[in-house]
């Protein structure tokens, strides 16, 4: 591996790579945002909804969690076109990742809410709070402490999953890398470099997650 030569090639390729990083980050960000909004709804439905709705949502999460993300991405890409929703690969990919994210966030939220002892709700009722008040002042804040670290973890999962969009032709970091490889034939160097970039992004997120976890810990 000739480092100097590779540095030259890398410098020439800086724009495609930076654009790739930009696309990767936007995919991840959009997927996390949409997935979280959807996921919080899923989590609330799993915990508090009445039977038929709860079963439907349960079926949804179980189905999504039982399917590989790549299958979700491919299915979303091929199926949406067939039913006349003409989305580009970018939108189709984000939809798939958001759905995947929502099932994860849903489970995290449900887990957190259910781990709060029953006595908390009873104590809130006993001082006369309504359910929305109980949720806003008692259950929500307690659940949030548990949800945040796991949620940051999910964010890292999304960055990793965004690579799958390269398979349906979204020009994110991995696809840009592959294009560069096909032009320069420096596969080892470029895969290494791409891997390194992903590592840096995810490592930063992981560190941030630990920081959040420490910040959120209830003093005891």
């Amino acid at each position: 591996m000739d480092i100097v030569h590779f540095a030259d090639v890398l410098w020439l390729a800086r724009w495609p790579i930076l654009k790739g990083i930009g696309v990767t980050l936007s995919i991840s960000l959009l997927a996390i945002c949409c997935g979280t909004v959807l996921g919080v709804g899923v989590g609330l439905a799993l915990t508090y909804a009445r039977a038929p709705l709860r079963w439907i949502v349960r079926g949804y999460t179980d189905f999504i969690r039982g399917t590989p993300v790549l299958v979700l991405v491919l299915a979303s890409y091929y199926v949406l076109g067939t039913i006349g929703l003409d989305l580009g690969p970018f939108q189709a990919g984000i939809l798939a990742l958001a759905v995947f994210c929502s099932s994860h966030v849903g489970e995290i939220v449900r887990g957190a809410l259910q781990s709060i002892p029953k006595g908390q709700t009873e104590a809130a009722k006993a001082i006369g709070l309504t359910f929305p008040q109980t949720f806003a002042y008692v259950l929500g804040p307690q659940a949030l402490r548990q949800v945040l670290p796991a949620w940051v973890n999910t964010a890292a999962e999304m960055v990793k999953a965004s690579t799958l969009l390269s398979i349906i032709g979204v020009a994110e970091l991995l696809l840009r890398t592959q294009e560069l490889i096909s032009r320069t034939f420096m596969s080892l160097e470029f895969y290494f470099f791409a891997g390194f970039l992903y590592f840096v992004i995810n490592y930063a997120i992981e560190r941030f997650g630990r920081y959040v976890e420490r910040k959120m810990a209830v003093p005891s």
């Binding site: 590989p68 790549l70 990793k160 991995l174």
Partner: protein, 220 residues
């Protein structure tokens, strides 16, 4: 829309899907088995007090966990030949998934090892057992019970990751699905059947893990 579901084409190729599923399961089984050995050794490394063992184990886990698996798969298959390591598609994928599982299982095993009270080791020592005997007859069986729930979900998620083998044209379930999709244009049906196969297999795996868990549960 005018799309009517017609499964006939998919049923004609159903055998291919089943063969693909069988290969997916075989890939998962092989990789997880090798990964479990790597993971167990790494877990002992992670809890070791010797920095020369602990650091490399930690670096390995951190690198694997923060790099997208697709990058690892492509790297092994396309880039490693540049270093003279040329593997077949299947070998290359099993190699990657084994290394990948190793890092995730190491975390599972580490948590299991830490959950065992130190007093049990001492009680073993006090009746004259050697460290090795303590590991095999006390620590290993207890750790295995403690980690079963998280081991189950890790195994299921690793099984889903076998879909990534499609990216290097290993004819497993996702690859076969995509092929049938392109050949028949029965897009919705093909992906529906494929996800159902994945979901079904995952729930079978989960049910098996629950049976093992119940079988091994300690009476109290």
């Amino acid at each position: 829309m005018g799309y009517t579901l017609n499964f006939a084409a998919v049923w004609r190729s159903f055998d291919d899907l089943l063969l693909g599923l069988a290969l997916s399961l075989a890939l998962a089984f092989g990789s997880i088995l090798i990964g479990a050995v790597i993971g167990l050794c790494t877990a002992f490394g992670l809890i070791s007090k010797n920095g020369l063992i602990k650091r490399p184990a930690g670096v390995y886990v951190s690198i694997i966990r923060n790099t997208p698996i697709l990058v690892l798969v492509l790297f092994t298959y396309f880039a490693l030949p540049q270093w003279g390591l040329r593997l077949g598609k299947i070998e290359s994928f099993v190699f990657t998934l084994a290394l990948y599982s190793g890092a995730y299982l190491a975390e599972v095993f580490r948590a299991g090892l830490l959950s065992i009270p130190a007093g049990l080791r001492e009680a073993g020592l006090a009746i004259g057992l050697t460290e090795m005997q303590i590991r095999t007859s006390i620590i290993a069986p207890l750790m295995f019970r403690n980690i079963l729930p998280s081991l189950g979900s890790t195994i299921i998620s690793l099984f889903k990751d076998t879909s990534l083998a499609a990216a290097i044209a290993v004819p497993e379930l996702t690859f076969e699905t995509r092929k049938i999709n392109v050949e028949t244009f029965r897009v919705i049906e093909t992906w529906m059947v494929a996800s159902c196969l994945y979901v079904f297999t995952c729930s079978i795996l989960a049910a098996l893990m629950r049976i093992v868990e119940r079988r091994l549960a300690l009476p109290r």
